[in-house]
Amino acid sequence: MKNLELQKTANEVRKGIVTAVHGANAGHPGGSLSAADMFTFLYFEEMNIDPQNPQMEERDRFVLSKGHTAPGLYAALANRGFFPVEDLPTLRHLGSYLQGHPCIHIAGVDMSSGSLGQGISAAVGMALAAKLDGRTYRTYTMLGDGELEEGQVWEAAMFAGHRKLDNLCVIVDNNNLQIDGPISEVCSPYPIDKKFEAFNFHVIQIDAHDFDQIRAAFKEARETKGCPTCIIMHSLKGKGVSFMENNVDWHGKAPNDEEYAVAMADLEKIGEELEKAGE
């Protein structure tokens, strides 16, 4: 896809995120928005997947280790055609299949996740299985930067590095904010790059909102042999919604009706600018 198309799609994903969280009256918009461009790139360009055949045997796998940002994943899946975009506002409602955290029974979701630190281990298992049987699919997992405080992340990293799982790509959404404040103040996991390097990862640092950099990083990851890759993407929490940007208050809070209107107006404006840019 052309970058402009990706940007437009990512903007639709962001609208989906805000709409889902508003519909749920709960959920995590901040980290969903910071990763929206990455979700978009994964599901619209990078990954070998088929919305008509979500269980396709050799599809690439994705595990959202930072499962609380399910609205971002769901919005990408819906826009990609795995399920109707109109279902997004049913998020977290009793009876809806769109559970608060990713559930393996949802079309396009490869693993239940949300208890932080656990998703990366499952992704490692998927990558290991491919290695054991000579299968060609790749496995992707996305972690929050605060999530790096979980010890299990490093157990998984140690194993992946030891086993040289070069079919595994770990993405860290480094928006620098967790519930209690900046990650550097709560219990700093910095330097993130040095830590993954120490566990035998190839580390790539990118701007999370630059599709050229995202594309180049995945190409480099695919070409990297003999070790897993970690893409640390420097992102803006709440990206795209003026009052949510870089504001920790919007980690896990839903906008009220007025705030929702402002958020959607922000995104509509971005959409109009992208349309103009295309002319």
């Binding site: 393996i104 693993m111 490692v124 998927m126 140690m158």
Partner: protein
């Protein structure tokens, strides 16, 4: 006892390792995971025969369970092996959220359960695993009583699609199910001794103790029925209730806390269908301690004599 013959003894962890090796060809998707305890869990037997299908995860049980979940999600049948304390205890939340909730085809082979771990003491004697695993929706929980049953349970777990917790012991225990008509089915208990005065429902090493106790009781004119419950979940409620209807009194025996394990499961079933007095033999809300397996089993009243005395006092 004059008629006593030499009884073969095998630790069920040994049965576990042997069964995995024996079933490897038949189940090509079977892989075995360990956390630096292959020698102790006896999966080393499998490792020796199929090194490429044995994955040592190092001393990191939580990650091991997560890896198993990932393997299962793409079609493997992983057996996760560690001591019960770490598989069910340390990694409880990983078992719940990464295996139980997505209902993945992961088998947990937990060895060194209960106080028969012996000398290592309380930190390694897990008396809570059955309780923890029972609470996970969709989890099958099994606790084999001997070598024959342990091997059968491993096969049944492999043939079953979904998460299974298997509990094995460290100490060698008598082979009690070696008979031509032996048949194993998940969720089915067995009456290993018929009686009419009291029902002793036992699991794991408790079955042998219950049989021994029944012999002692017989000499005093008490005819005890002994029910072997290998599958604690789903529980064979029908068998337990029908036996309770016959005898009117139930004693449960398990090498586990009396809170949440077999005894609790039996009480749940009886409360619902046919309430009778129940006496629970097991760890009475205490931690274990160091000592030989035999000495500990005797101290905590889990040997034949202990069960006999408790049953006698109860009825």
């Amino acid at each position: 006892m004059a008629e006593e013959k030499i009884i073969k003894k095998v630790a069920t962890r040994e049965s576990y390792g042997n069964a995995l090796k024996e079933l490897a060809e038949e189940f090509p998707n079977l892989v075995v995971l360990d956390a630096d305890l292959a020698a102790a869990t006896k999966t080393g037997i499998f490792k020796k025969a199929y090194p490429e299908r044995h994955i040592d995860c190092g001393i990191a049980e939580c990650n091991m369970v997560g890896i198993a979940a990932g393997l299962a999600a793409v079609g493997k049948i992983p057996f996760v092996s560690s001591f019960a304390m770490f598989a069910a205890g340390r990694a409880f939340e990983q078992v719940r959220n990464s295996v139980g909730y997505p209902h993945l085809n992961v088998k947990i082979g937990a060895t060194h359960a209960g106080i028969s771990v012996g000398e290592d003491g309380a930190t390694h004697q897990c008396n809570e695993d059955l309780a923890l695993m029972r609470t996970i929706p969709g989890m099958v929980v099994m606790c084999p009583s001997d070598d024959v049953e342990a091997r059968a349970a491993v096969r049944a777990a492999l043939e079953y699609e979904g998460p299974v917790y298997l509990r094995f012991g460290r100490a060698a225990v008598p082979v009690i199910n070696d008979r031509p008509d032996y048949h194993f089915e998940i969720g089915k208990g067995t009456i290993v001794r018929e009686g009419s005065d009291v029902t002793i429902v036992a699991t794991g090493i408790g079955v042998d103790s219950a049989l021994g106790a029944a012999k002692m009781l017989e000499k005093e004119g008490v005819n005890a029925e002994v029910v072997n419950i290998c599958t604690i979940k789903p529980l064979d409620e029908e068998l337990i209730v029908s036996s309770a209807k016959k005898t009117g009194k139930v004693v449960t025996v398990e090498e586990h806390s009396v809170i949440g394990g077999l005894g609790s499961a039996v009480c749940d079933a009886l409360c619902k269908h046919y309430p009778v007095p129940v006496c629970k033999i097991g760890m009475q809300d205490v931690f274990g301690e160091s000592g030989s397996a035999a000495a500990l089993i005797e101290k905590y009243g889990l040997d034949a004599k202990g069960v006999y005395q408790t049953v006698k006092a109860f009825i």
